[in-house]
Symmetry: C2
Subunit: 202 residues, 2 copies
Amino acid sequence: MNPEAVLDAALDLLDGGALTMRALATRVGLTPGALYTYFPDRTAIVAALVERLLAEADLGLLENGEGTASARITAFSLNLRETLMRHPAAVPAILGAAFNGPVALRVGESLLGLLPDPRASYAVIAYVLGSIALEAAETSAPLTPEPERIAQRRAAFQVDPETFPRTHAAADAIAGYISTDQFRWGLDHLLTALLADTADRL
Amino acid sequence: MNPEAVLDAALDLLDGGALTMRALATRVGLTPGALYTYFPDRTAIVAALVERLLAEADLGLLENGEGTASARITAFSLNLRETLMRHPAAVPAILGAAFNGPVALRVGESLLGLLPDPRASYAVIAYVLGSIALEAAETSAPLTPEPERIAQRRAAFQVDPETFPRTHAAADAIAGYISTDQFRWGLDHLLTALLADTADRL
DNA sequence: ACCTGAACACCGTTCAAGT
DNA sequence: ACCTGAACACCGTTCAAGT
């Protein structure tokens, strides 16, 4: 047995929504107590899992990608979203880690080089992680393809037209909220503002 | 005994980081089983708590506030942040609720009236909740005043200048990341982009 | 309707003892 | 070092029985 194999099983269980030390031990063919040979406690396992997932994102898109700063940040953000949304159950843990592990440091370092103001880096991170968190919260079921999810949400979305007229009228757009297009549209606007020379000293 | 009193105690325990049915029962002078007279299960208690906290935010700032759309959204966002950060431990639950309870619907309805595109509403929500989530994740301890928190973070923040030169150089700014100024700066930029006529059909 | 007491089926973690 | 078996101190939830 080795730590990596434990993490493999732990990710599986987390995706299934039932990561317990006992289930994990059974999965890897050990007794619960034996897990403490590899990790000091359950939180350490979750932390290692978070770091492993973040490491799956393609940092190259940010660090040595082609194109403008905006294009590279967008490409990486989309890649990060895709990577993390393969494991929605892990997203709360990623937010909870406050984004200050080794991978997060590299992301921050790159963003500092691509944006004119340190505050812009943080704004991008807040938007990207906020979007992913909202999306993960909505994704209880594994994850059906995006068009299906939008259609289901549209069908389920019913509000009183009297009290929420605008919400009712915009129901189609709202059903599409959690989508790649929505994610990208907001990020485009944010980056436009952050990269505009005139806005630097707002 | 009544549901509201149960929620009062539940919020106290959640803030303390130990909301269990047993502790809650003890706190209100009941047996654990008796709690199920008031709420069907633990998740219902957390859900009710989330809704109560959201209801504490001043919706008037958004719905019948003064000034421009930008000013009203900013005022409400700052108020929401302040409200939620009084209970950092509840923030993950708020994100987990996918922001679709009754209060969230009212917020969404107002935003739709203040912004030119439904997608802009969602972008604002993603940024605001993302910022609050990152802030809450960092706030383990109750909450010391903001200047102290920044100073502590600055003192604790040490990275290798060789591998993370920009991060090292921007350490002061980074220590100030989680602050009202930072929150507002990013929101200002985002709103500027979302409200710019030329950006509407990007 | 509201509550108790007791149980059921779980948890994470520790630790002496073995190899 | 690695693992077992057993325990400790918890969980959320259910339910017969009482008022």
